[in-house]
Amino acid sequence: MAEKRETPQLDELEKGPWPSFVTQIKRAGEKNAMADDLLGLLETSYEDKVGHWKHGGIVGVKGYGGGVIGRYTDMPEEFPNISEFHTVRVAQPSGWFYTTDMLREICDVWEERGSGLTNMHGSTGDIILLGTTTDQLQPIFDDISDRGFDLGGSGSDLRSPSCCVGPGRCEHACYDTLDMCYDLTNEYQDEIHRPMWPYKFKFKMSGCANDCVAAQARADCSIIGTWRDSIIIDQDEVKKYAADGLDIQMDVCHRCPSHCLTYDKDTQELSVNAEECTRCMHCINVMGKAIKQGKEKGATIMIGAKSTIVKSAFMSWVIVPFMKMEPPYTEFKEMMDRIWDWWDENGKTRERIGELIYRLGMGEFLRATGIPAVPQMVYRPRANPYVFWQKDEIEV
């Protein structure tokens, strides 16, 4: 290793109580020349206030169309060790549960063949192995595959599905998010590894409407756990919350969006108008020991979320208010096939499913996929009279 690099700007970011990424790069840089060059490049960016990464060319491993993202610095002469500095996406286990043995396997491969730097994890959910050279890509894949790992998605394909902690550690999970995530990932290996669509597609699974993986905001298909019957109230537990000083009237009933809860201060009993409940999770979040979800559990299927580029950010909206969600998820998968077919048929390049539905209309989407229209799909009906009447609705 060369003499110690001067990084006066980055050194400032080792101060303060929050754990420092600079310390991480330095630590890797002590034994890895790529990481050390990264430190130098980053210090340069901090000095001149621009990034120094160029577009990737096409890099990959045998049998895969994605999973690796090419990246090259625009200062290869100053920082030759990162003239190639590609990312490898490794599919994470459901819920990011690990044994330390598994993690060490990845660490060993990456120490040998890459920069030794990672993101635990990337925004989509994968383990991100940050920076290696082109010639190491295939050996890296071979090594991680031997150790039971696989690549995640990238490009215009199904991205690695991800899910909340679900039944693994949460009393609110209305279906098995961990299992469904694992099931779909295995079912759709081809769609994940070989880009074939107009653009990317994401699944995210949350066990309840608290939506701890932000599925509604980020996944083209968001699967949100819910129930169909009434919440269940345990009056003894209600009394305990009251005794512990919870202001049930104010903090629970008053904040309930549909005002479906009534609290009797004298008897300390809480009752629900089940029909009016929207299952938003608020009351359960506040007094979970006293209020439990109903027994008829499943999920709400929503579609369309994406980030800002280019036609604005979209949030997913309801397409199926309630679906039982049990292995092998046949009803769900059959619906997804119809949706993907329609998207594949009609989508423009780089058009997400939500943008396509917006462009062609929900009516067109529903008719093509055979999903029945229900009022739960909208906050409110259309304000214009511009209905596309279909041939069979018209007298000839």
Partner: protein
């Protein structure tokens, strides 16, 4: 033997025994102290100790974490969607020693319940090809400043911060309580040679959301209608010849009030409150100060249980601006596709 389409590791093999036994049967959870969650099921309790990480970590860091998990958790741990590490402790006796050792190793314990948890962020100057700012650096500076709120869990509600290094807004910045977004502000400088060499012109023209890019067949390149460009950088993604980064004019915008949970109110987008702050590395003092101001205003004014956006929507955005003293400008008013729905079509408002 390497295998194609192996799939991810089977999560079921990574679950600690207490999780296997309580799987799907959890009854309730409690928060014994900030940074610790206690989940209870028929087979007993699981204690999760949550630590911050910088997300960008080296393999030796992971090994250190593994050593702690071996010592206190039988070798089991998990990560959260916000880049936190969670040690899964089944023996209550191990909780306090683990916390002490975490803190000693620089792994702060916190981020549970009504706190500010870890920041979801993008690559920034570290590894992105269109960044308008760094992501890790701002995150570090902001969380140093807000550190006390990571350690406390008595805020009005939880507060989620996201940092996206460009207008792509990767990482759920569009639905965060506070979103820091790197922005470009100038028209791409065209390198016509690079465009000619590396670009499919029709795709480049088509990718522009405002139709600002027009083909220039004579030059085998393109022209830009400057007043139509809104600097999204989508063209740079399509062509290496459309240089969008600008050291003098790139910087950071702040959007607030997004939320993704359905509890009480519907999920909502973050909304722009500060259109631009300069890139001032290494510690972006203007950004950390602005975030602190907004967080403290929320803590001082929100009702118990109100997310930042719920508070602002209750008092009204016009009141938020008068209360915060943040100047309102033409830049705050949407002029994109769905702008109309943001216009105040009501004569009832506050000052």
């Amino acid at each position: 033997m390497p295998k194609i389409d192996n799939g991810p590791p089977d999560y079921r093999k990574n679950l600690p025994p207490i999780v296997e036994q309580n799987y799907g049967k959890w009854e309730y959870h409690e928060s014994p102290r900030p940074g610790v969650l206690k989940h209870v099921g028929p087979a007993g309790a699981l204690y999760s100790v949550r630590c911050a990480s910088p997300r960008l970590v080296c393999v030796d860091f992971i090994r250190d974490v593994c050593a702690l998990a071996d010592k206190y958790c039988g070798g089991y741990l998990r990560f959260t969607s916000r880049n936190n590490i969670e040690f899964l402790v089944s023996d209550e006796q191990n909780v306090e020693p683990l916390i002490e050792e975490c803190e000693a190793q620089g792994l702060p314990v916190g981020g549970t319940g009504a706190s500010i948890s870890n920041v979801v962020h993008t690559q920034g100057w570290v590894h992105c090809h269109t960044p308008a700012t760094d992501a890790s650096g701002i995150t570090k500076a902001v969380m140093d400043d807000l550190f006390e709120y990571f350690k406390r869990d008595d805020l009005p509600n939880k507060l989620r911060i996201a940092m996206a290094c460009c207008l792509n807004m990767c990482g759920a910045a569009h639905v965060s309580d506070i979103a820091l977004v790197g922005i470009h502000r100038t028209v791409p400088r065209m390198d016509h040679d690079a465009i000619r060499k590396g670009t499919e012109i029709p795709s480049l023209v088509a990718c522009c959301p405002t139709a600002a890019i027009r083909p220039d067949p004579k030059n085998k390149s393109v022209t830009i209608v400057e007043e139509r460009c809104m600097y999204c950088g989508n063209c740079y993604t399509m062509s290496p010849g459309m240089h969008i980064m600008d050291a003098k004019n790139d910087g950071v915008a702040i959007l607030i009030g997004g939320k993704v949970s359905n509890a009480r109110t519907a999920p909502s987008f973050s909304r722009m409150v500060i259109p631009f702050l300069p890139n001032n590395p290494p510690r972006w003092p203007e950004v950390t100060e602005a975030v602190r101001h907004i967080v403290d205003l929320w803590i001082a004014n929100a009702r118990r249980g109100e997310r930042l956006g719920e508070w602002v929507e209750r008092i009204g955005w016009e009141r938020f601006f008068s209360l915060s003293g943040i100047p309102f400008t033409d830049k705050h008013i949407d002029d994109y596709i769905f702008s109309r729905e943001t216009f105040r079509t009501s004569a009832a408002f506050k000052y």
